[in-house]
């Protein structure tokens, strides 16, 4: 490995991994919640939270994006569209479920048209809970998913736990409450919305 070629390859490989984890471009898909989370996502992208310092850019095209940010519960109406948007993204890619509805179906869970969390349809890598979560927590979720972009991963099935599934709890989420630093916690196994 100490050959000049190996050395160059090693440096190049490190540079590519670094570039991939530091440039998470988002594409935002709303499955049809109340739009509270969507407003918080837009909030996270405003100058106040300066998402660009992490290389985060919001793009309109799933084919140009690295992280799929999904809000709202998975439902029969647009499950297919969600699947297609996910399929259009090139590897390496990650999925972030934002808000209670996307995590497990939320207030809509159990309704006849609702399938549960978006983990039922696409493999979710990070969950951000809250109704709605704070912008800081959404950004923390994106940063938790970013290391997974370092290399291409094998195909993943919906509901399968990614190697770094995390939960970003809603600390101090009460209106007027203090915003605590988001805490990252590992989630045991294929979690959200598996059981009916």
């Amino acid at each position: 490995m100490t050959t000049p070629l190996g050395l160059v390859r090693g440096v190049l490989d490190r540079w590519v991994r670094r570039s991939r984890t530091r440039s998470p471009w988002l594409v935002h898909f709303d499955c049809g919640g109340c739009n509270g989370c969507d407003i918080e996502i837009l909030d996270a992208l405003t100058p106040r939270h300066s998402a660009e310092r992490f290389g985060v850019i919001n793009v309109g095209d799933p084919r140009q994006a690295d992280v799929l940010v999904v809000t709202g519960p998975a439902n029969r109406r647009n499950a297919d569209v969600l699947r297609r948007v996910y399929g259009q993204m090139g590897e390496p890619k990650a999925v972030l479920a934002v808000g209670s509805c996307a995590v497990h179906g939320g207030i809509f869970r159990g309704a006849p048209n609702i399938l549960g969390g978006v983990g039922e349809i696409v493999p979710v890598d990070a969950y951000v809970s809250g109704c709605p979560p704070r912008p800081e927590q959404i950004l923390a979720g994106v940063l938790a998913a970013a290391p997974l972009l370092a290399e291409r991963r094998p195909e993943r099935a919906p509901g399968e736990a990614g190697q770094g599934v995390v939960l970003v709890p809603n600390e101090g989420g009460a209106p007027g409450g203090r915003t605590g630093a988001p805490v990252l916690r590992s989630l045991p196994v294929a979690s959200a919305g598996r059981k009916r």
Partner: protein, 300 residues
């Protein structure tokens, strides 16, 4: 066109090949300064290079075959234009090759079915319309100072920007266009205040988007080198000229984020064109004066 020395050609090719690293760093600085103007932290200086590497290393998604071919041609032509300029070749040829590169990109954007890409392509046409005449006029102004259109001759002549100060306006407008700055309905750089999503690259993804980006970087490098050429005999002045032009473009970009393509055309032709024409009209007068001062005199 004066014949190019083989050595100059090799140096030009090497310079053009290294240009993306320099432009990547300049764009990174640009994003940081813009962020500071908006009271944000901004991304790391290497961010633009991260973005390009990531795109290049991403899984390739099928693109339109015609569009893909045109994209390759666009990048190669933009590289060629830059190499001609850096090798000290004919300015008019370099400017026309650059124009051809831009036309190829417009065709690549218009070759796909997406209406967003079509809209983006038509806006790129407006940018070409705004920028290309200015570039040609500036090249003519350089030539009127140097007595030759060869970039090497211009570099050896008294700095055109001192002979024709109003050319600075034109160069500023040109830089703004090359960087796809302000008018928000034209804009397609990565700044947060430009809310419109880049239309022309709608159907490009992964390595193909990286290729399109690389082509634009060559175009930007061409304009930066073109601006530096206006004062290349005094390197400090050349750096100051590029920096000053860039800062003015950034301030305008942040002050008028809601300018439209009409105002862009008006500003480009009014300010930039006015500056260039004033420069051309005053060339014999001011140029002669400065030439006399520097002792060189103008070949006429």
């Amino acid at each position: 066109m004066t014949g190019l020395q083989p050595l100059a050609l090799v140096l030009g090719l090497i310079g053009a090949a290294l240009a993306p690293v320099g432009i990547g760093l300049i764009l990174g600085l640009d994003r940081r300064v813009t962020a500071a103007m908006q009271l944000r932290v901004g991304p790391p200086v290497l961010q633009s290079l991260y973005d390009l590497t990531k795109l290049a290393a991403k899984e390739s998604r099928p693109v339109d075959r015609v569009s893909a071919g045109l994209l390759v041609a666009h990048t190669v032509m933009a590289f060629g234009a830059l190499a001609i300029l850096l090798a000290g070749g004919d300015l008019i040829v370099a400017v026309l090759v650059l124009g051809a590169a831009q036309v190829l990109f417009i065709l690549a954007a218009a070759a796909v079915e997406s209406p967003y890409a079509q809209l983006g392509a038509s806006r790129e046409v407006v940018l070409l319309l705004a920028g290309e005449p200015l570039l040609l006029l500036s090249a003519v102004a350089y030539g009127s100072v140097a007595g030759s259109f060869a970039a090497a001759a211009v570099a050896a002549a008294p700095p055109p920007v001192l002979a024709l100060p109003s050319l600075g306006l034109t160069l500023g407008v040109l830089l703004g266009i090359a960087l796809r700055k302000s008018p928000f309905d034209l804009a397609s750089s990565h700044h947060a205040h430009q809310e419109l999503v880049k239309g022309s690259t709608t159907e490009m993804a992964g390595p193909w988007l990286a290729l399109a980006e690389l082509g634009h970087w060559f175009e930007a490098a061409f304009i930066v080198a073109f601006i530096a050429l206006a004062a290349v005999q005094l390197p400090l002045l050349a750096v100051a000229l590029v920096a000053a032009t860039y800062v003015v473009v950034l301030i305008v970009d942040n002050t008028f984020p809601r300018a439209t393509w009409r105002s862009a055309l008006l500003i480009a032709w009014g300010v930039g064109g006015g500056g260039a024409i004033a420069a051309l009209l005053s060339a014999p007068l001011l140029g002669g004066l400065l030439g006399g001062l520097l002792g060189g005199g103008l070949p006429r």
